[in-house]
């Protein structure tokens, strides 16, 4: 085979983003984000253990718009990592490796994670009395 017909991959000049790689990278990114978010769970449990005033302060912290935005991000990260984690477990069982299935499952995970995030936030707004 002469050098001009050799496959060149990844060729950075013509390489494009694909759902296969994005879902893989996002699994790691959301995992790291959730590791940071675990601090909030820790804070919540410690405030609840410390008493009513500490718990009230924790609730006040959660009400800040920036924290609400972070919580929205963490909700999606959680939903995504959960859905894609299930996909990984199925792949560990040898399922879903045919290319069209792999691509389809990637999109299912992305859409499902967004739907789950919306469901949790709509539920929280309804419970919170905002809707």
């Amino acid at each position: 085979m002469d050098s001009s017909s050799r496959p060149l991959s990844p060729h950075l000049g013509i390489y494009r983003w694909q759902v296969q790689m994005v879902t893989s990278i996002l699994h790691r990114v959301t995992g790291i984000a959730l590791a940071v978010g675990s601090l909030l769970l820790l804070a919540g449990l410690l405030s609840l253990a410390a008493g009513p005033s500490a718990y009230a302060a924790f609730r006040a912290l959660l009400a800040f718009p920036l924290v609400q935005l972070l919580l929205l991000g963490w909700t999606w990260a959680f939903a995504y990592h959960l859905c894609n984690g299930v996909r990984h477990l199925l792949q560990d069982a040898g399922l879903g490796f045919a290319r069209p299935v792999f691509v389809r499952n990637g999109w299912i995970v992305v859409v499902l994670s967004l739907l789950l995030t919306a469901a949790v936030w709509i539920a929280s707004l309804v419970i919170g009395g905002a809707l």
């Binding site: 790691r28 995992g31 959960l82 477990l89 419970i127």
Partner: protein, 127 residues
């Protein structure tokens, strides 16, 4: 579970990763636990969203919820350590820095899990 490793590999317990299949299995088992416990956790948070301190305290004082919360934080911080371990192995190539980070993540995960368990016990049993 079937064991697909050849006998020599099993005898040594060492592949190119200098490690057997334990990490892989623990990551999967904690993932399966978190799939169930994570959904339970989100439902619990939603249920406590509008409630008072007393409602949250009463909910976690329920032995069923207290047990699941302890299981959740153990699975969570364990799974977190296993995941961050791989990230550090992949991206940190200076041996000293890598070792320091691996130890820090392990100590943080252990401390965080212990803190969370003590907090749950205090909530559940009264401080």
């Amino acid at each position: 579970m079937s064991d697909l490793r050849n006998p020599l590999q099993r005898a040594r317990g060492l592949g190119s990763a200098k490690d057997g299949a334990q990490h892989w299995w623990r990551q999967r088992v904690t993932a399966a636990a978190l799939l169930v416990l994570g959904i339970w956790f989100v439902l619990l948070v939603l249920a406590l969203l509008r409630g008072s301190y007393a409602a949250a305290q009463t909910a976690l004082a329920n032995p069923f919820n207290a047990t699941l919360m302890v299981a959740f934080v153990v699975a969570l911080f364990w799974h977190m350590q296993l995941g961050l371990q791989v990230v550090i192995e992949d991206y940190v190539h200076t041996r000293g820095v890598e070792l320091a980070l691996q130890i820090l993540v392990r100590l943080f995960a252990a401390l965080a899990a212990l803190l969370a368990i003590i907090a749950v016990l205090r909530i559940a049993l009264g401080g």
